[in-house]
Amino acid sequence: MKSEPLIKITKIFFILLMIVFFFSLIKRYIFGLGAISNLSDDMPWGLWKGANLFGGVALAAGGFVVTAVVYIFNLKKYKVFVRPVVLTSFLGYLMVILALLIDDGRPWNIFMPLIFWNTKSVMWEVALCVASYTTVLFLEFLPLVWEKMGFKKALKFWSWLTPALVFVGVILSTLHQSSLGTLLVIVPQKIHPIWYSPILPILFFFSAVVVGLCATNIIAFIYSNKFPEEKISPLVQRLAKSTGVVFYVYFILKIIELYQRGFLKDIFVFDIASSLFVVEFFVLGLIPATALFFKKAVNSKKTLFGLNLALVCGIFLNRINVSVIAFQLKSNIDYFPHFLEIVVSFSIFAIAVYLFIVIAKILPVFSKETT
């Protein structure tokens, strides 16, 4: 087989990555955050917050979107995607928590928000929602284990329980996908005006739904050999159209919002801020989203995959831009992530992919009942 050396290289790369990752962790827990990161009093939040918390939560939006499609909007045909997409979300949230265990200065206190409630704090709401939604995702994931173990009664109970779990999960997701945006509302004077917005929570919600729809589509592509082709392509094409529509809602809201604050004219001046914005919002946003409305693009599986991937990257970049780069640009802070900071951030995503591959081999991620 031709692809074998590639797999071998990937494996070696992953092992090396993990070695450096564990070395970094040891260094971090002995010598403090400063030993492996370029975080400072001027730049208290960096790559880990931007990519792994803000970006990670957005990337894990698939679960609530696909479960809402199937159990709330009753589009039962999409049930084939539920298990793999819920699994990506579950792993996504576990990785967010892993990132917080590294990024938080006192990770042994990570459970404190469950005991000490500051209901005025947006971070408290985020913490509580992440904790409870991860639990919900774990419960939504359990049927895979029951099926593997042959627990028929548990499976039956779960099929009764799932709609309720989905209901709670969608509410929790809506709340904290948007409240990640609310986190930044408290610093109007510290965020670059292209990104600061009083409606950040609404923008975060719609862009998260876009990612969720794209994630479903990407999973469908990766596992296209597991799905019967003629059954899947109409589903995927309909999904693509909805993705385009939701992106346009996000796009129009952002444009109106920029216009009202008087910063619409700043988006094409092509300084660092404007260039980054053009990339996330037009190049990796409007263009692929518009293409989703054209039959030619949607009929090719590979093109569709590329368009969805572009949209996901655009919104992932948006999260890093809003939470880190917009903060940095506004106050002219000199920050570029430390090499080990990048290694840690990347490792966390690599672990998620690795775990997905392993779990997909062990558990019936593509169950016979649902396909």
């Binding site: 208290p44 709330i72 909007f73 200065g105 990770p107 408290w124 209901f167 809506t174 409240s179 610093v187």
Partner: protein, 248 residues
């Protein structure tokens, strides 16, 4: 009774007694400070050879840091001090991100890091009715301790007496919705390290407006989701029945 500090640029001679007093009080090695960091809760900025500006936590009325903290490890006491409890702190550093005056600093090189900032000498002085170390150390009265509202009156009296000398606004009267610490600045000073672009309202009001809508969002969303499920269920049933009829 909210207490406060009034610092007057005109009276400060730059002797550094406030820095030393603070360092001794908090058990730091006595040294010349040139910025706020984990070992400096206050420092004197030398603007020119005879003019100085103190830097310290402003102890906001409605502190962004305390509103940001998920566990209230930072909180405002009734005396006016914003104090920190490391035992429940997660180290998320949202306080540092949120503070409009860029005051809280972090122990980046520590295994068990803490957020570090001026605590108004809360446990050792203020809670016992004593003035904070910096105010007791000041030989000229440039750092004055007292009831905040009275200090504000004093500040305006000084401005009215010598309006040409002083900047007409008291720094801290309106910044971030008002702070316990107040600064009187000289007109001739054009550049300092003081953060300028601070909104004149309490910053926690911004997220509060949004968070206040959370219950409404939950109820509305719950109804919407439940309604959608009900309607789509019904639609599916009708469609099934129609199919059955067609088959018959």
């Amino acid at each position: 009774m909210a207490l406060g500090i009034l610092f007057d640029q005109n009276l400060c001679i730059g002797c550094g007694a406030c820095e030393v007093g603070c360092q001794e009080e908090h058990g730091f090695k006595v040294h010349k400070a040139d910025k706020l960091d984990e070992n400096n809760f206050t420092y004197l900025e030398e603007i020119n050879s005879i003019t100085f500006q103190r830097h310290l936590c402003m102890h906001c009325f409605n502190p962004a840091c305390a509103s940001a903290c998920p566990v209230s490890a930072l909180k405002k006491t009734k005396e006016g001090a914003v104090i920190y409890n490391p035992a429940i702190c997660l180290g998320c550093r949202y306080c540092i991100y949120a503070c409009p005056f860029n005051i809280p600093k972090y122990e980046w090189k520590s295994q068990i890091p803490r957020v570090r900032k001026c605590d108004f000498c809360y446990s050792t002085k203020i809670s016992k009715g004593l003035p904070p170390a910096c105010a007791s150390a000041c030989p000229t009265g440039a750092t004055l301790f007292g009831v905040r509202e009275e200090l504000l009156k004093t500040a305006h009296q000084r401005i009215n007496k010598e309006p040409k000398k002083y900047v007409s606004e008291v720094f801290g009267e309106k910044e971030a919705g008002g702070t316990s610490v107040l600064f009187l600045r000289l007109n001739e000073v054009t550049k300092t390290n003081l953060v300028r672009n601070i909104p004149d309202f309490a910053l926690p009001d911004l997220p509060q407006k949004i968070l206040g809508k959370t219950p409404l969002v939950i109820v509305a969303l719950g109804l919407f989701l439940g309604g959608m499920r009900f309607l789509t269920d019904r639609k599916n049933k009708i469609r099934e029945e129609e199919q059955k009829k067609d088959e018959e």
